[in-house]
Symmetry: C2
DNA sequence: TTCAATAATGACAAGTATGTCATTATTTAT
DNA sequence: ATAAATAATGACATACTTGTCATTATTGAA
C-alpha cells in the first residue's frame, strides 16, 4: 500500500523550487501569503507533491512546467 | 483543507498518458502488470497524481518527463 | 449480433499530501 | 555577540492518492 516515492526526484524538485524562489528574492512566507502553499516541506523533500501543486507553483513563479523539469539542476538518473 | 486540484491539468495529463499507452498498443492491464500502477483512474482524470507517479509512468513509457509536459496535446491555459 | 477483451466505475483500507499551528534552528544584519 | 528575520521541524486533522478487488459498461473481432 506504500506510496510511490522517488527520493532523488523529490530532492531535485525541492532544490529546484528553492533555487527559483531565492532567485526571485522571496521568502517562504511570501510564497505562503501569495499561494497558501507551505513550500518548506516541498523544498526539503519531505513531501511527494501532486502535479496540481507543481502546476500552481510554476504558475506562481511564472515558469512553464516543462521548462521547470527541463532545467532541474540537480540531475537524476532518468 | 481541500487539496489543490486543477481539473484541466488532470484531464490533459490523463488523456496524454492514454494517448502514449495506445500508441504503444498496451492495455491498462499490461501497464498494471509491469508497473503496479492502475492507470485507469489517471487516464480518466479521477486522481491528482504525485510527481513520483508521473515519473514512474514516464520512465515506463520511456519518455522524458519534460517532454511529456511539453507535448501535452490537450492544451491548458498556462 | 454475439462473445471476448478491454475499459470504466465503485468501494474499501492504508498511508500520505496538504492546511494549520507551534516550536526550534539557522541565517543575516547590526 | 546579539537580535531579528527566515527556515526547518514536528504534530494534528482532513481529504486525498494509491493498492486491492469486484462489478458494470464499452469496444472490437468473428
Amino acid at each position: 500500500m506504500g506510496q510511490i516515492r522517488n527520493e532523488k526526484l523529490l530532492i531535485a524538485v525541492g532544490l529546484s523550487f528553492k533555487k527559483v524562489r531565492e532567485e526571485k528574492k522571496l521568502t517562504q512566507e511570501d510564497v505562503f501569503n501569495d499561494t497558501g502553499i507551505h513550500i518548506g516541506r516541498i523544498e526539503t523533500a519531505k513531501t511527494n507533491l501532486t502535479i496540481s501543486t507543481v502546476y500552481k507553483l510554476c504558475s506562481y513563479y511564472n515558469i512553464f512546467i516543462q521548462d521547470f523539469f527541463s532545467n532541474l539542476k540537480f540531475k537524476i538518473n532518468w
